[in-house]
Symmetry: D2
Subunit: 146 residues, 4 copies
C-alpha cells in the first residue's frame, strides 16, 4: 500500500473550502483513511436521509459513492479540482439500518485520461455490502498539480 | 399518451410529506408534468450545487435522475412508497451552465416486479442532453394501491 | 438528419475485412441504415443463439448492441478502427421471440475523445424494446481519418 | 469458503448440453473452480477474437463475464436454467494481450429474487484487471432445484 499524495486532513480542508455543498460542517462526511489507489469515507447518520421503512435513502449512498471516488482519485494523483465523473453505476443490494455508512473505494485503473474504481458501502461495523458502485473519472490534461 | 394515475400536484403533496429530504420547500424541485409511463421534473438552480468551473455538481444530477424515475413509477402504478431503486447508471455528457435543469423520464418497461426507465437531463430551454441515466426500480408485492 | 461519412455498404465491406469474427458471412449481421449520429443494425435469427424457454441469448443482444454503437461511431467520424468500447451497460427488459433483432443506436454525445450512445433492441417489426444499452467509446487522437 | 451446490464438472456437462452456443467443444471455455458465492472461468485464446492492434475483442470479454456470473449463480443455488441476466455493466480497463483470460466472479448479493455479482477479468497469470463487470440475475420462483 503506497502512501497517498495528499493526507486525509489536507483533502478535508481543501474540499470543505471548494465544495461547501458536499463538505459543509453539518454534512456528516469524514475521510477516514486514504492511500495510493483508494480510501475509506464515512457518512455519519443524518435524520433527513431516512426513507419510509426506516432505511437510508439511495441518494445518500449515491453521493457517498461519488465523494469516495473523488477522494480516491485526488489522494492518488494530487489536487485536480476539474476532474469530473463521466459515469457512475450503482447497485443497491440491502437496505441499511439507520446509522453511519462507510464507503471503501479501490481504483481499478489509474490512467492518464481516465480513472475507474469500485466502491463498496457498508453500515459501520458490518460486513454486508449495502450498495456497490463503479465509477469513471475523466482527468483533464495537467500542467501542474499540487 | 395515457393519463397518469396520480397528478403532479398529488405527487408533490405526498412526496413533500413523506420525503422532506427530497421535496423540502427550498429544494427547488417541481414536477412539471406526469403521464402514464413518464414525467418531466424541474430542478431550480441552487447556489450550493455549483462546482469549480461554474458548472452544476454531478450529485445534483444523480438525485434529479433518481427523483424523476421515482415520480414516473408512482405516476404510472400509483402510490407505492416502498418501491426502491435497485440500479442507477448515469453518464455525464456535457457540463451544464448554472441554471435550472429539466429531467425527462420514460419508462422502458413496467412489469410486476421491475420497472426500468431512462432519464435525459437538459438545461431548461436547451436541446443538448447534459446527463443520461437508466434506472431500475423494484416494486414490492401490493395488496392495494392508491 | 445529416448524411453519414461512410455508407452502410462501405462499412460492411470494411468491417467484414477487418473483423471477420463479427461480420463473417454466416453471422447474420447487416447494417440497415446509417446517418450522422446513429444507425440501425439487423441480427438475423441464428439457431445457436436460442436459450431454454425459446428466447434469444443475452450474449447475442450484448454483441449486437456493441456492434451498433461501433457502426454509429464510424458512420459519424469516419474509419477509426482503434476506437474502443470503454463502457457498456445493458438492461434486458423482455424476452424476444425467436426471430431477427433490430438495434437502433443514437449518439447522445460525439466529443473529441469520447462518444456516448444509447441502443434500443427490438424484435423485427415490433414496437416493444427487448433490451436497452448505453455505451461509451474512446476515440484515439487522429492524424487522418478515411 | 462454503462448498458449491454443483461441481465444476457437473456444471460443464449440463451447460454443454443445454447451451451448445456457449459451451461447444471449440469455445475454449472451462470452469476452473466454483464455490458457494463465486467461481473462476477460463476463456482459452481463440484466433477469431483478435481485434486490430493485437488485442482481444470486447465482445469476448462481455460473454465471458456473463458466463462467469451465470456459473456463480448456478453453483450457489443449484440448476435453475431459467435464471436470466437483467443487467450487465462492464468497464474495459486495459487491452489484454492475445492469450487466455480468467474471469473471477464474486456474488455481492444472493437474494430470493435477485443475485448481484462483480466479475474481474485478467490475462491468465497476470494481476492487472483488464475488464470489470457487475451483473444482476433474476431468479425465477422455484418449486424444486437440483
Amino acid at each position: 500500500m503506497h502512501a497517498a499524495v495528499l493526507t486525509a486532513r489536507d483533502l478535508e480542508r481543501r474540499l470543505s473550502a471548494e465544495f461547501p455543498e458536499m463538505f459543509e460542517k453539518d454534512s456528516g462526511l469524514a475521510i477516514v483513511e486514504v492511500w495510493h489507489g483508494g480510501c475509506r469515507v464515512r457518512q455519519g447518520f443524518q435524520q433527513d436521509s431516512l426513507r419510509p421503512g426506516g432505511t437510508i435513502s439511495g441518494g445518500t449512498m449515491m453521493l457517498l459513492a461519488d465523494v469516495a471516488m473523488y477522494v480516491a482519485v485526488l489522494a492518488s494523483i494530487g489536487w485536480v479540482p476539474l476532474a469530473v465523473t463521466t459515469n457512475l453505476n450503482i447497485n443497491f443490494l440491502n437496505k441499511p439500518q439507520p446509522g453511519a455508512l462507510i464507503a471503501e473505494c479501490r481504483l481499478l485503473k489509474l490512467g492518464k485520461r481516465l480513472a475507474v474504481g469500485d466502491i463498496a458501502i457498508r453500515s459501520e461495523g458490518e460486513e454486508t455490502i449495502v450498495a456497490h458502485a463503479t465509477s469513471t473519472y475523466s482527468i483533464p490534461p495537467r500542467t501542474e498539480v499540487a
